[in-house]
């Protein structure tokens, strides 16, 4: 795999999520991108069980367990800002056994599903982020296959993103800046998705609080 950039596309004014996705799809197809099936990334949140917190009195950390259809045999476990563990897919079974330490947060499952497009050496994935039954946002993932060092091809990725996201082109993801000349891996993509999901969760909470 190459270098990947995950970003959020804001929903166009006066349009639904579905309509905005369709707009982007049309733009991609105009460029000449080819449809290549679908993709899915999901994320489940676990928090440390109260029984284990106890004595130190420090707040419990959140752990995210994620799956990516691009790596169907793997499972990713991440802490916010912390390490990322890449395990086999049956890690989920292990999490059930660890119920005493990590408890699944209720209704926390968030996922993005959509279509995968190939354009020359670029791989574009447009997804609708859903939490429960409702669509919450749009995720755009762009991967440039031939390159493995993020700093080598960031400007190229940016140029490509500008071509169909226009003014909504994101800045360089945090994972790019922190490490120089290091080979980019699948875990870096998952960290970006985790950050995207967290951002979308927070966005949703703000209007709800305002209404009260």
């Amino acid at each position: 795999m190459g270098v990947t950039c995950v970003s959020q596309m804001p929903v166009a004014e006066g349009k639904s999520v579905q309509q905005t996705v369709e707009l982007l799809t049309r733009k991609l197809e105009m460029l000449g991108a080819e449809k290549q099936g679908t993709f899915c990334v999901d994320c489940e949140t676990y928090h440390t069980a109260a029984s284990t917190l106890g004595s130190q009195g420090q707040p419990g950390k959140l752990m995210y367990v994620m799956h990516n259809s691009e790596f169907p045999l793997s499972c990713f476990a991440l802490f916010e800002g912390g390490p990322c563990l890449v395990a086999d897919a049956n890690f989920d079974v292990l999490m059930v056994k660890l119920k005493g330490f990590f408890q699944s947060a209720k209704a926390s499952k968030i996922e993005t599903r959509g279509t995968r497009y190939q354009y020359c050496d670029f791989l574009v994935k447009l997804g609708t982020v859903t939490m429960g039954p409702s669509a919450r946002g749009i995720s755009v993932e762009v991967e440039y296959g031939p390159c493995v060092v993020a700093s080598d091809c960031w400007s190229l990725l940016l140029e490509f993103l500008q071509s169909f996201l226009g003014s909504h082109t994101p800045g360089a993801p945090a994972v790019f800046g922190s490490r120089h000349d290091v080979v980019y891996g699948p875990a870096d993509t998952m960290v970006q998705y985790m950050e995207l999901f967290n951002k979308i969760r927070k966005q949703q909470q703000v209007p709800v609080a305002g209404m009260r």
Binding site: G32, C120, V149, D152, C153, L156, D181, V183
Partner: protein, 330 residues
């Protein structure tokens, strides 16, 4: 069909001519039989010779007679009609079972194809003669007889010497690592890894570079049997393009007297590209004098130019439709 045939060809004479041919063949074979058997046993040597000569003469006479007969018949047979452009094969078109066996149409098709092929081959050879590849020093102006003599000096080099040249190049560039292996006989294969950008497989024949494939850093360069995979191309369009350019460069720039210079400058080119500019960034500047300028990744292969072109085309079609709309209304 029989009516049509009888106009040009006398069928009876035809049958007779065939039997005459058979007779001629058998009489000719009798002559050779007689020669093969040689002289038969007779009391005296003279008698033996006489009998043999008489027998031989008889046979020759019969050959002569059969030949004359055949010539006479061949005049009777008459010439096939020549008004058809395809001569005898033109008769195939008269075959009533043509619907079942489309022989005639296939024949015409084949004829057209071969004509076209000849034409294109002529064009191609003309073009190729203009831009001959200079793989050997004395290709031009020297007779073909002398050429093979000059080659072995540079083609047959001891493997030790090749190893030395390669390891010297390996030490020259810290960014590049070269792994030399000889999986198939004495020919060396190099796996050149350049930083974290790309891998190059170079197939050598002595110190001549025979083939080169450029692949991404994260692509698999080994086949299932653990040997270097020298056949499959890169999955990425950028590196396919770079492979094309590298192949063009190595075919075009050859110094058969000094193969090591060629190898060294070939290895230098990617390193040079790497140090001058990041490979996936914009076009490399200031490379005018170097013959290896083809090495740089063209903007086109990254899809940006193509994108630009499409955008322009879309604009143009938009303008066109607006114009036609305007004209129609006017």
């Amino acid at each position: 069909m029989a009516d049509v045939l009888s106009v040009g060809v006398n069928l009876e004479a035809f049958a007779q001519a065939i039997s005459a041919i058979q007779a001629l063949r058998s009489s000719v074979s009798r002559v050779f039989d007689c020669l093969k058997d040689g002289m038969r046993n007779k009391e005296t040597l003279e008698g033996r010779e006489k009998a043999f000569i008489a027998h031989f003469q008889d046979n020759l006479h019969s050959v002569n007679r059969d030949l004359n007969e055949l010539e006479r018949l061949s005049n009777l047979v008459g010439k096939p009609s020549e008004n058809h452009p395809l001569h005898n094969s033109g008769l195939l078109s008269l075959d009533p079972v043509q619907d079942k066996t489309p022989l005639y149409s296939q024949l015409l098709q084949a004829y057209k194809w071969s004509n076209k092929l000849q034409y294109h081959a002529g064009l191609a050879s003309g073009l190729l003669n203009q831009q001959s590849l200079k793989r050997s020093a004395n290709q031009m102006g020297v007779s073909a007889k002398r050429r093979p003599k000059a080659q072995p000096t540079t083609l047959v080099l001891p493997p030790q010497y090749v190893d030395d040249v390669i390891s010297r190049i390996d030490r020259m560039f810290p960014e590049m690592s070269i792994h030399l292996s000889r999986p198939n006989g004495t020919s060396a294969m190099l796996l050149v890894t350049l930083g974290k950008v790309l891998k190059v497989i170079v197939v050598m024949r002595s110190l001549f570079i025979d083939r080169t494939i450029v692949k991404g850093y994260n692509e698999n360069v080994y086949a299932e049997d653990g040997k270097l995979d020298i056949w499959s191309k890169s999955n990425y369009q950028v590196f396919q393009k770079v492979t094309d350019h590298a192949t063009t460069a190595l075919l075009h720039y050859q110094l058969p007297q000094m193969p090591d210079v060629v190898v060294r400058s070939f290895m230098m080119s990617p390193v040079w590209m790497r140090t001058m500019n990041s490979p996936f960034l914009g076009p490399v500047r200031g490379r005018g004098d170097l013959p290896w300028k083809m090495w740089s990744v063209p903007r086109d292969s990254r899809g940006c130019l193509a994108m630009e072109k499409r955008r322009l085309q879309a604009q143009q079609t938009g303008i066109k439709s607006q114009l036609s709309h305007f004209l129609l209304q006017g």
